[in-house]
Symmetry: C2
């Protein structure tokens, strides 16, 4: 899944180049490229299907020339993850009714690649042996209020590390998050899902019939054929905008969680990126740019291109300079960035967001 | 005079485009262009002589296409103001031995153009009637330690507002500056001088014979002829690097001051520019750029090109973004900027300064 538009990393993420296409760590690879590389140890390139918004077709071809064009599914409208996943499941099911699917966000950080590969292999084995929906749960490192939480239930025999899910919870407040952590029963929802094409399509039929019916209205021999894009253009805009969590995972009774330690972050905010990045002795993240600081601490400096930043006296700030916009903002106020981006758009125009 | 290199406005001023060539106020005109416009009400364009460093020849032609090339004197080396003024005086004297000269820095701010014109006309009348060196003295608005001070002496009969100079003082410390202000006898040295070509050349002979002899070593018919540039290239590098204040004004006994209220600033520092600029209700200077601030006060935002700045929580900061460098610095520490520029050059290279 690489069709999302994220405004929280503005001015780095832009409408025409959201987070998944950015090289945040100066490795020379975007988060999307890193995601494709990571899953390539388990899934052959010809079996990697990308679902994205039509507007990103070019940038994807540029970043992933090894993915053939017919593997890139172009959504004509933004409809959150459920319609995206339902389409991909139909497409894959048409190519191979026995297929299993690993559903991956393309804009997350995973530091432990071997753990990841192991978890995916074990997870696939689990979902190939029954009508089961599996999610990877992350061992929480603190009461983060930016993540959804999964409460684990009873263990599954002969699959160590996999348990039945008792409940899914949207982002909690801090008090609730503390209770979750203290209980030891809750894990972060990574948004990484495993299932067979057949299982997830059955789940759509049962828990999200609106979306299911829309895609099932296709004539035979539509998915995986040249008829597919025209059909999608026709029906996709009518799909409800709904997340897979809300449409399926919170409702289904065949949901399981595999708890993993992946060195994972959803990189959902500047602060998450800061936490995931190496810091210097003053607690500043200055990776990937030339910075001269004096009495700056706990701050994050990000700049595009060959540019230097000279700064003094900043405590816990984000300094992000990219193209025609510069952000100098307290990290603690980062949740205001979405709203700021809207204000920037209104006051100064589309070209700045 | 437009050959200076100022690092204090980095990253706006650069080695290849110092302060006088910058449009600080978003008027569409550089400080040099504004200076030439200002004096054009008194001096015809064909009588405006520019002295600059050779490296700025192109930028001057670009900014002042109306000035003919033979009026642009190109110094082959940096030698402060005394050699610059001595050369110009010889050049002008050769063209017209009766000429009077208004010597102007090209990187200052003058808000009251009519007062300026009046002061120049009255000053010229004064220096045309005797062997007199006249400087314009600015009524100080506070104990600024960034300016030189002029102590006035006895009044000159029939020239109201003009007095003999009792002393010139280099930049004082704050205690001394307070004493100066309290006395009511001291004025800021504007660096604007008026004299006849003959008077200033006489003064060089008497008070700075080293410089005087160097330029007097020319064969007859050198200045104002095609021989001049080759002669200058030959001798100029041997000139002492010395300011006109130190070489002449502090020593001569025929120095007078005309006190004026010009709405003047030498724009010597970011803070001086801040003080000279209109502020919004939060005390921020955001002229000439698109800025969205929240809880920022007393700060100065300067950005080149069509770029926006979003900032929060900055108190008394300079944010200056230009080309390949971004400065975020407390205004109170602006005296460190010179040193920073050196550090930037050492650590990151010439291309950033």
């Amino acid at each position: 899944m690489c069709g999302g538009v994220g405004s929280r990393f503005w001015p780095f993420s832009r409408n025409d180049r959201p987070k998944q296409f950015l090289d945040f760590f100066g490795t020379g690879k975007s988060l999307l490229q890193l995601t494709v590389e990571r899953i390539s140890s388990v899934v052959r390139p010809e079996n990697i299907i990308l679902v994205t918004n039509r507007q990103y077709a070019e940038i994807i071809k540029e970043q992933l020339p090894e993915i053939k064009e017919s593997n890139i599914l172009l959504e004509p409208a933004r409809r959150n993850t459920a319609p995206c996943i339902c389409w991909a499941a139909h497409h894959i099911h048409a190519l191979d009714p026995e297929a299993s699917i690993v559903t991956l966000p393309s804009d997350h950080l995973v530091l432990k690649e071997k753990e990841f590969e192991k978890a995916i292999r074990e997870g696939l084995e689990f979902v190939e042996n029954g009508n089961r929906l599996l999610t990877l749960g992350i061992n929480p490192t603190g009461p983060n209020t930016g993540y959804g939480y999964i409460q684990q239930g009873t263990a599954v025999e002969s699959y160590p590390g996999i348990r039945k899910v008792k409940s899914f919870t949207e982002k909690p407040d801090l008090e609730m998050a503390n209770v979750f952590i203290a209980s030891g029963e809750f894990f972060w929802n990574s948004g990484i899902f495993l299932w067979s094409a057949d299982s997830i399509l059955k789940a759509f039929d049962k828990y999200d019939p609106e979306t299911a019916h829309l895609f099932s209205s296709a004539e035979p021999n539509t998915f995986g054929t040249p008829e597919e894009p025209a059909f999608i253009d026709n029906i996709f805009p009518n799909a409800p905008s709904i997340s897979i969590d809300y449409a399926i995972m919170e409702k289904a009774d065949n949901v399981f969680v595999k708890t993993v330690d992946l060195g994972w972050s959803d990189l959902g905010t500047w602060n998450a990126l800061y936490e995931a990045s190496p810091r210097n002795h003053e607690g500043n993240v200055t990776q990937n740019c030339k910075v001269l600081t004096s009495e700056c601490t706990g701050s994050m400096f990000a700049v595009s291109g060959d540019k230097i930043i000279v700064a003094a006296g900043l405590k816990d700030y984000i300094v992000a300079d990219n193209g025609n916009a510069l952000l100098i903002y307290p990290i603690a106020d980062e949740q205001k960035i979405r709203q700021i981006v809207n204000e920037v758009k209104t006051r100064f125009g589309e070209e700045y967001v």
